[in-house]
């Protein structure tokens, strides 16, 4: 890292001037300026679709800017390619991972930068370096595992490790904590501190105010593809940032939800899944309250609600809905029973991106007479209903005939939520409801949940973001290693207690 020290302290490591980028019909970036200094963590802040990822893609050479200049380390750079970017020390961690699912972690780490001799790979050398890197980062990652066998959190770790392989001068992190839990997040923050000490510049994108507070040196706010302002983090408030970002004042608190627990809607007894990811779980959820499930990465919290909905095969145990046994769950039957599931991965499991929003929203309700009779669609009625729903959810832009793929992350989530309003439902299963959506959209989602419980629905929220589940839920289950480790209610519901149950095993293991 010796070369970094001769960079003039005052001269930024990265200097962008007047960067513009158009996609067919959309101006994603409009004359944006950005400076990043060596040893600084620079946060990009903006709503969904503000152009953060696009800017990052320009910086990392994925696609060229339409106009503007690009200086790195004092030199003007033209015709940046991903390869060149890596060569000069720009390392991105992408929001949509740059991992090949069918390759192993190690193969992915070295993708594009393999150690080779005349085109022949030197596998042993790469294995050695990969192991060394993963150890250094302290990630729990097996370099020989295939990426598609990993949970999203582990994929995120692999993506981060990939960026840190080789010499790094500018590290770019696009929502790196979106699917990490406390422990990994802690690791990552330690790492960030270390890199800053080594004079590495960082660009960091996140929708979590807490992180911005903890990490940022400076914040650049983008809105609608334009640079709004760059501020010193220390001298700005959350409210100020949010106002700059959205153009209006937003109250940043979680909504106050009045829980009125009623009859038990979902009751799970001794549930064990075929793949062993959930074992002997007993839990219940009542109407009129939000039941939270927290836990470390891979603890089985997602699998649990997926099993209730019918997406994960059950080995043994009983699921009861509204007191009646529900055998062999399947999505279609779950919906008929009034159970809806909102997947964490909206691209893979939620939306048909190239179809209109209208079709995406009505997808779960096509068996209802309101949407189809005798197999014939009632398109006029559909249009009216969905338009109404999307107005209630304040979809932006409100045109329901656009394809779902044209929406920003938060608005995609709204389309998913819209499904909940198309039919009579009593149980709502949310998996990571706020992953990747901006502050404003998050609040709207919370408001949505509030309305649901207050109308008497049973809501189950699975989340890796601890403050979120703590604030939203009435009762909180903590899962560990496929089992329920604790049930917390009322005053017990503190971050301290949750973390204690998270790490109970490890602590005992370390003592032993």
């Amino acid at each position: 890292m010796d070369s970094d020290t001769d960079v003039n302290r005052t001269e930024p490591l990265l200097a962008l001037r007047g960067i513009s980028k158009r996609f067919a019909g959309v101006r994603a970036l409009d004359r944006v300026d950005l400076d990043v200094r060596a040893g600084e963590l620079h946060v990009l802040f903006g709503e969904n679709g503000a152009g953060k990822s696009t800017l990052i893609n320009v910086v990392s050479g994925t696609f060229p800017a339409d106009e503007g200049t690009f200086h790195f380390g004092g030199e003007e750079i033209r015709h940046l390619t991903p390869q060149r970017a890596r060569a000069i020390g720009i390392s991105p961690v992408f929001q949509e991972f740059s991992l090949v699912p069918s390759l192993t972690v190690e193969e992915n780490l070295f993708l594009g930068r393999e150690v080779s001799n005349g085109g022949v790979l030197l596998a042993r050398e790469m294995r050695k370096r990969a192991t060394a890197l993963i150890d250094e980062l302290g990630f729990d990652l097996d370099p020989s595992q295939r990426v598609d066998d990993l949970s999203r959190a582990h994929q995120q770790m692999a993506e981060i490790a990939k960026a840190l392989l080789g010499r790094v001068r500018l590290l770019i992190l696009d929502e790196p904590t979106a699917s990490l839990t406390e422990r990994e997040t802690g690791r990552l923050f330690e790492l960030i501190a270390r890199l800053k000490r080594q004079n590495v510049g960082l660009i960091y994108v996140s929708h979590r105010m807490r992180e911005i507070r903890a990490l940022a040196d400076r914040v650049t706010v983008l809105r609608d593809g334009r640079h709004i302002r760059t501020l010193e983090a220390a001298s700005s408030t959350d409210g100020e940032l949010v106002e700059l970002m959205t153009g209006r004042k937003i109250d940043l608190l979680f909504p106050a939800i009045t829980h009125q627990p009623d009859k038990v809607m979902v009751d799970v007894e001794n549930l064990t899944l075929a793949d062993g990811s959930v074992r002997d779980v007993n839990f219940y959820a009542q109407a009129g309250e939000i039941t939270g499930i927290a836990g470390l990465v891979g603890c089985g919290k997602s699998e649990l609600i997926r099993a209730i909905y019918g997406l994960a095969p059950i080995a043994s145990g009983v699921v009861r809905l509204d007191g009646l046994p529900y055998e062999f769950p399947a999505p279609r039957r779950s919906l008929k029973h009034g159970v809806a599931y909102f997947p964490a991965n909206r691209i893979a499991e939620g939306l048909a991106l190239s179809r209109p929003i209208r079709e995406n929203a009505s997808m779960t309700a096509l068996d209802l007479p309101a949407f189809a009779r005798f197999g014939m669609l009632r398109q006029a009625a559909e249009r009216v209903t969905i338009t109404g729903i999307m107005e209630r959810l304040q979809l932006r832009p409100p045109n329901i005939e656009r394809t779902a793929g044209a929406l920003s992350g938060g608005n995609r989530q709204k389309v998913m939520l819209g499904r909940a309003l198309t039919r009579e439902l009593t149980v709502f299963l949310f998996d990571e409801p706020s992953v990747g959506i901006d502050v404003g959209a998050k609040l709207e989602v919370y408001e949505f949940m509030k309305r649901l419980v207050e109308a008497g629905a049973a809501v189950i929220v699975v989340s890796s973001e601890l403050p979120e589940v703590l604030a939203l839920s009435n009762r909180l289950y903590v899962m560990h290693n496929g089992r329920i480790a604790a049930e917390l209610k009322g005053a017990e519901k503190t971050e301290q207690n949750v973390l204690a149950s998270f790490f109970r095993d490890h602590l005992t293991a370390e003592v032993a």
Partner: protein, 338 residues
């Protein structure tokens, strides 16, 4: 702390099931087929029959290796059959012409013929690769187009009449010859398979082919030059098809525009897919594809040896093919997730 966490995560059980799942259970099926046939009919393991099987499997395996590579990179090569035919007639024609110009100079004659044949493969491969990688037309359509065009050129050259006039050494001394008891084609196929396995496992090219098929976007942002490697897969596929065409020509002793065709194309894709190559790209291993080519060849041979009415043979072939893949699929179903 690390170890504690790692141990805490439920590990996928490593048992017989998962081992079969990893290799694909094709090898097991192959062994069963060979054992069954040997028990039923001693002709089956007669030396000549085995040599026939090996030689015919060699042609298919060579073509299927290239096909597999293209499919792993996320493409499709429908033109292989037509390339086999074109390489055959061009090789024979070139040899005939060179022989007329330089009578007796066998080394030159054979070299020019083989070079011309492989050259055809190279050209078709480059055209395919260019259209897919640069013009971004889907591989299916591009190769459908070049299939038609290549077959047309082959027929234009010959009018469908076989081309003779290749030197005897090429036919008797190479095409029909045996070395250490095995036909020459088998050695060439083994060499091709070995090289391809090496390429796939140990070289940048092989690694990038997997990456491109597995996730193009990831490959691009990781700095892999996608276009070059896609062109590479189509070139390898076409050149290997041309090689198979030349070997067939050497064996038969004449250049024929009827070689290959739809049959070879469908069979090569079938061999790849039955050998575990995913049509979505990113997955597949050459050695299993080679085994699959052997499996398909033995299946055809078995149906003949079992004296099954040749009109009904396709029925059996179809059912066995579907059953094999369905069983494989079901055995893998256990570890499936949505």
């Amino acid at each position: 702390m690390n170890t504690a966490l790692a141990a805490a995560r439920p590990q996928p059980s490593i048992g017989l099931q998962s081992i079969v799942g990893r290799i694909g259970f094709l090898p097991a099926l192959l062994v069963a087929l060979v054992a069954g046939m040997s028990a039923i009919d001693p002709q089956f393991y007669g030396i000549i029959n085995i040599l026939n099987i090996l030689r015919n499997a060699s042609f298919l395996a060579i073509v299927a290796c290239g096909q597999a590579l293209v499919i792993i990179a996320g493409g499709f090569d429908l033109s292989v059959g037509a390339v086999v035919a074109l390489a055959s007639v061009v090789t024979a024609k070139t040899m005939a012409i060179t022989a007329a110009a330089f009578p007796g100079n066998n080394a030159l004659i054979i070299a020019s013929g083989v070079a011309a044949g492989l050259g055809c493969g190279l050209v078709v491969g480059l055209v395919n690769g260019f259209c897919v990688a640069k013009l971004k037309v889907s591989g299916f359509v591009v190769t459908l187009g070049t299939m038609s065009a290549t077959a047309g050129v082959g027929l234009m050259i010959t009018s469908g009449i076989p081309v003779y006039g290749m030197p005897d050494v090429f036919v008797k001394g190479f095409g029909r010859a045996q070395v250490f008891g095995l036909p020459t084609a088998v050695y060439i196929a083994l060499a091709v398979i070995a090289v391809m396995v090496f390429v796939q496992r140990r070289t940048l090219f092989g690694r990038y082919v997997y990456a491109i098929g597995g996730n193009v976007d990831a490959a691009v942002v990781s700095g892999v030059s996608v276009q070059r490697h896609i062109v590479g897969t189509y070139v390898v596929s076409s050149v290997l098809a041309a090689l198979a065409g030349i070997l067939l020509t050497a064996q038969v002793g004449s250049g024929q525009a009827s070689f290959g065709g739809d049959r070879m194309m469908l069979q090569s894709i079938a061999a790849a897919v039955i050998g575990g190559v995913s049509l979505r790209g990113g997955v597949g291993r050459i050695e299993i594809v080679a085994i699959s080519a052997l499996f398909l060849t033995i299946l055809g041979n078995a149906l003949n040896l079992l004296h099954i009415d040749s009109r009904l043979q396709p029925v059996f072939l179809g059912i066995i093919m579907v059953a094999a893949v369905a069983l494989d699929e079901l055995s893998r179903r256990r570890k499936s997730r949505v």
